[in-house]
């Protein structure tokens, strides 16, 4: 057996040798994502583009870029300004302020388990396809980092540190926008959250209180919360379907959401279901941050639903505003939702500012 595998090994390595001939690239150190057992057991593998494999040097560079205000127009704002680790990589404002003091119209989004967004539609309205493409946008968004890409790469080239870091990560010290966003995307893919109290319950490393357990039943019960059709379950521990729905917030829409992107009126008022992980750190809630607390969110689904032409059919009892949960069920649902928050994730030293 040993001999055979040796032969196979040499065969393969000599093959790859020939194909490598001529290029003298420095190879970065591969650093495959560590997939949590709960994910490996239940859901499909994460999406990693073949032209941007995870490497130690790439992730380190991406982390530095993510926290570095050098990418913004006036050197004052980094991605982390609106995506802070203590907030599960969102911020605590309803709308975030860009470098010129301008306010956006959407609530910042948390960043975790991004590689498991199989459709790869990012932003509340899904307008960016792939993590890499998403990262192109904030840098040049006039109400965010308000820079130009030529200016951003020029500043990186002029820095004393970055050329060497790009060389280590990508084999060349030529700094181009695609390399910048690839590095950031590599770092973002490492932001994996899978150690909440509920995860520990599912992997037999912890228990839940009776209130949390009943809250999970309310979540799974079609005649009560009926949250699982859109927000995952014990078998889909992402706690989102990453699909776009109108969950009954408004009768008419000032922000068309997905409809703005597709141009199809049937998509008006639809936004991507957010993950329910880490809600303890991500207030306020919804695409426009309209709800400051989880109680308000739960009251919305229980009594506050309003009808509109694109309402999701899973929003029921519209005449009475929703599921009409009892006070006890509401409290338990909230306790369950909070058990999906992952303190180890927000405190993970690998994710903090370098």
């Amino acid at each position: 057996m040993k001999k055979l595998s040796l032969i196979i090994f040499f065969g393969i390595s000599s093959l790859s040798c020939t194909s490598d001939k001529g290029t003298e690239t420095v190879r970065a150190t591969p650093s495959p994502l560590e997939i949590p057992q709960l994910f490996a057991d239940n859901i499909l593998a994460p999406i990693i583009p073949t032209n941007n494999p995870q490497t130690v040097e790439g992730v380190a560079l991406g982390r530095k870029l993510f926290y570095d205000p050098i990418l913004s127009g006036d050197g004052t704002q980094s991605c982390a300004s609106c995506h802070s680790p203590q907030n599960a990589f969102t911020d605590s404002d309803q709308f975030s302020t860009g470098i010129d003091g301008l306010l956006g119209t959407r609530n910042s989004m948390p960043i975790f388990n991004m590689a498991w967004n199989y459709d790869e539609n990012f932003f509340w309205d899904g307008r960016a396809f792939s993590i890499e493409n998403q990262a192109m946008q904030p840098v040049i968004n006039p109400i965010e980092m308000h820079n130009t890409w030529p200016n951003a790469v020029q500043n990186l080239r002029a820095s004393s540190e970055y050329p060497a870091l790009f060389k280590a990560a990508f084999g060349s010290d030529q700094i181009m926008p695609p390399r910048v966003i690839q590095a950031i995307a590599q770092f973002e893919r490492t932001l994996i959250s899978a150690n909440s109290k509920f995860d520990k319950y599912l992997t037999n490393q912890g228990t839940l209180t009776p209130s949390e357990l009943n809250g999970f039943s309310v979540f799974m019960d079609e005649s009560k919360g009926d949250c699982f059709h859109c927000h995952g379950s014990d078998r889909n521990p992402l706690w989102t379907d990453n699909i776009f729905h109108n969950n009954g917030l408004d009768t008419s829409f000032s922000d068309l959401g997905l409809g703005e992107i597709t141009g199809d009126p049937a998509d008006n008022g639809k936004f991507k279901s957010p993950s329910l992980r880490n809600l303890a750190f991500t207030a306020p809630y919804m695409h426009d941050g309209r709800f400051a607390t989880l109680d308000e969110v739960i009251n919305h689904y229980s009594e506050g639903l309003v009808n509109s032409p694109t309402i999701d059919p899973l929003m029921k009892n519209l005449a009475t505003g929703g599921a009409q949960l009892t006070a006890a069920d509401k409290a338990d649902l909230k306790a369950f939702l909070l058990s999906l928050s992952d303190t180890e994730f927000i405190n993970n030293p690998n994710f903090q500012a370098p």
Binding site: M1, L4, D41, N42, I43, L44, W116, Y118, S217, M220, D221, E222, S223, D226, F228, H229, C230, G232, S233, D234, R235, N236, D241, A266, N307, P309, I311, D312, P313, L314, M315, K316, N317, L318, A319
Partner: protein, 251 residues
């Protein structure tokens, strides 16, 4: 222990390769094409435009269903199963066709059968692709997977505004802890069908039948929260029997 395994594998591969080049027996792979209609009209999404047997006007905003254990039955009594299952999602064109890896022997086939949903044994397995598609049926209702999610809005002449319906089918809850497996086994005749090469079979779903036959469906009674409603689940099971038919076959 391991060397013989590899040797066997190599031998099999070699045999297989040589078989392919000499053997005159023709075989085929089958592509299933899943189509949907409302009493013969191709289905359109979103606008309220269909009238069911009970007189409510309705729209279809979402339709997903699971087909498993697809089998061809030959005149010599043998059966070949097209390995795999397919979750059809009308919002995703890639799911409307399914090509099984199974090579179908060149025989005369007299029927095609499949399960709508999973049978009890298949339903007890854990499927990463279906979990990722949030296709699970809650444990409190016996667990496993949905057979179907058919959703939309409906109105009738007396209603002030459109209401929503979610026609979800899966295991039927008899009482706490007791469930009935609720898949539908369907068998459709083939007229001494042979397949010369790679072939395709169209499996048609007439959505109107879910509301019609033998039970006239009343959306005012059964619209939402049907998953745990035993009576509704059994009505679905009965109506499902006449929903499917075979369409175009390209042999």
């Amino acid at each position: 222990m391991k060397i013989p395994k590899i040797l066997t594998l190599l031998t099999i591969i070699t045999l297989f390769v040589s078989c392919n080049s000499d053997d005159p027996v023709q075989t085929a792979t089958i592509t299933m094409n899943f189509t949907q209609n409302w009493d013969g009209t191709a289905i359109n999404f979103n606008t309220i435009q269909y009238t069911n047997a009970n007189g409510e006007q309705l729209s279809v905003t979402r339709l997903r269903y699971l087909i498993s254990k697809m089998e061809l039955h030959a005149s010599d009594g043998s059966t070949v199963e097209l390995e795999g299952y397919n979750l059809i999602d009308l919002a995703n064109d890639n799911t409307l066709n399914f090509t099984s890896n199974t090579v179908v022997p060149n025989k005369t086939y007299t029927s095609f059968s499949f399960n709508f949903g999973f049978d009890a044994a298949d339903n007890a397995e854990n499927y990463a692709d279906l979990n990722s598609a949030s296709w699970n049926w809650p444990d409190m209702l016996g667990g496993g997977y949905h057979n179907m999610q058919l959703e939309g809005q409906y109105i009738n002449n007396t209603m002030p505004a459109a209401n929503t319906y979610a026609y979800h089918m899966g295991k039927a809850l008899v009482s706490t802890g007791t469930y009935e497996d609720n898949h539908i086994a369907i068998n459709l005749p083939l007229n001494n069908q042979t397949f010369a090469g790679d072939a395709s079979i169209e499996l048609k779903m007439n959505i109107a039948e879910w509301f019609k036959n033998p039970n006239q469906w009343d959306l005012n009674v059964y619209n939402n929260a049907l998953m745990g409603n035993y009576a509704a689940q059994i009505l679905m099971q009965e109506n499902g029997a006449s929903v499917f038919s075979l369409g175009t076959i390209n042999p």
